[in-house]
């Protein structure tokens, strides 16, 4: 089992000291698509929602104000860049840092909204993201302690132990909490009930790409076949 089994052709590395970013066909594709979507989101405008009351003419329009638009666009771009970085990093600790960055920026994107239901859900999501940073970093620490390295290019040559397996379970729980996948989706589903769809889409896209990349990293660490 090596990188070519999972990701196709090995295209090269970017060494930054001990932190080595690497490219395969698979993660280069995810990296480029994350950057392209970030560029599209940075250029797009928000929609406005109309809430209609039955039987009356009291229609309520929900718009994104200019100050809110600016901060949410800024945080969406950071979120996109962090997602792109997480796609190509070859270092487990760096990966957890990128995931933590995505988590905190996702809270920021919805914290600028002025709707109580959405803010309540964002608060609950923030609590999960904070709890999830414990298993996230503990997982990386377990992998470091049991294999002696956190560079994926080295881990792939080290036989998997039970402790590494436990570390990767912790890592997965951490990622599941930060990205809010099932069965923790309820908070995230609430977040999407507000105006400003481009920024909500980047929350969705980042969790999607992160989950795919996490599965690839867990396969590299555990080497099941």
């Amino acid at each position: 089992m090596d990188f070519t089994t999972l990701g196709g052709q090995f295209l090269g590395t970017i060494p930054l000291g001990d932190i080595v970013l690497y490219f395969t066909t698979f993660n280069l594709f995810m990296f480029v698509s994350a950057l392209v979507f970030t560029a599209i989101i940075a250029m797009s405008k928000t929609e406005s929602q109309i809430e209609a009351d039955f039987g009356t003419l009291k229609d309520k329009e929900k718009k994104v104000s200019k100050a809110e638009f600016k901060i949410r666009r800024f945080l969406a771009i950071i979120c996109g860049l962090a997602t792109a970085g997480a796609m190509i990093t070859g270092d487990v600790f760096d990966y957890t840092l990128f995931v933590a960055l995505i988590g905190i920026v996702n809270i920021g994107i919805v914290a600028a909204v002025k709707e109580i239901d959405v803010l309540e859900a964002a608060f609950q999501y923030g609590i999960i993201a904070m709890i999830a940073s414990l298993p996230l970093f503990a997982g990386a620490a377990f992998i470091l302690a049991s294999s002696g390295t956190i560079s994926l290019l080295e881990i792939i040559n080290i036989p998997t132990t039970t402790m590494m397996f436990f570390g990767s379970i912790l890592l997965f729980i951490g990622v599941a909490g930060e990205t809010g996948v099932a069965p923790f989706f309820a908070t995230k589903a609430e977040l999407f009930r507000t105006a400003g769809s481009p920024f909500l889409v980047i929350i969705h896209l980042s969790s999607l790409l992160i989950i795919v990349r996490t599965i690839e990293i867990l396969l590299i660490i555990n080497k099941p076949f």
Partner: protein, 159 residues
């Protein structure tokens, strides 16, 4: 029917942090029975315990040797080929540190000592990208907190 009820309960945002913490607690408790197998092949090279203390070294137990900019100290990188200048400033001590080191034998364990030089190269030289990312996370947290504080998003009385 029962499964449907469980899914309905999971659809309440308030319950989600509790569910998550319970699952995490179960996994962490299971961690007590996981056998601990540490890899000691890639550890940081260290002298034998108490060796530097018996030699009356003021920097004990953190003396890593090396002359700044001339001779590298004892450090170990994952990829030495990408870090050719590693260890060159490990032996650096500030004038105050040299003064204190000459006065007492316990400089290495005092609160104002810095293990093997003021610049921890493992962190800032070979893993410099980590520090960039960590401070980015901190900066984003401050950006969000200050924006929310300035614009006061939760106007409960008006809504």
């Amino acid at each position: 029917m029962r499964l449907g009820r469980i899914w309905n309960k999971l659809a309440t945002p308030k319950r989600i942090p509790r569910v998550f913490s319970v699952i995490l607690a179960i996994v962490l408790l299971a961690g007590f029975i996981v056998p601990l197998t540490y890899n000691d092949q890639q550890l940081y090279p260290r002298p034998a315990p108490q060796l530097q203390i018996s030699e009356q070294d003021p920097l004990a137990p953190y003396d890593r040797g090396g002359v700044p900019l001339k001779e590298p100290g004892i450090v170990k990188a994952q990829y030495p080929q990408y870090a050719p200048m590693e260890g060159m400033v490990t032996g650096y001590l500030s004038p105050i540190a040299i003064l204190v080191g000459n006065t007492t034998l316990y400089f290495g364990t005092s609160i104002y000592s810095s293990p093997g030089g003021l610049i921890d190269e493992i962190l800032y030289y070979s893993r410099g990208f980590d520090t960039v990312l960590e401070s980015t996370i901190l900066m984003m947290a401050f950006v969000i907190a200050s924006w929310v504080a300035l614009h006061f998003t939760m106007r409960r009385r008006e809504d």
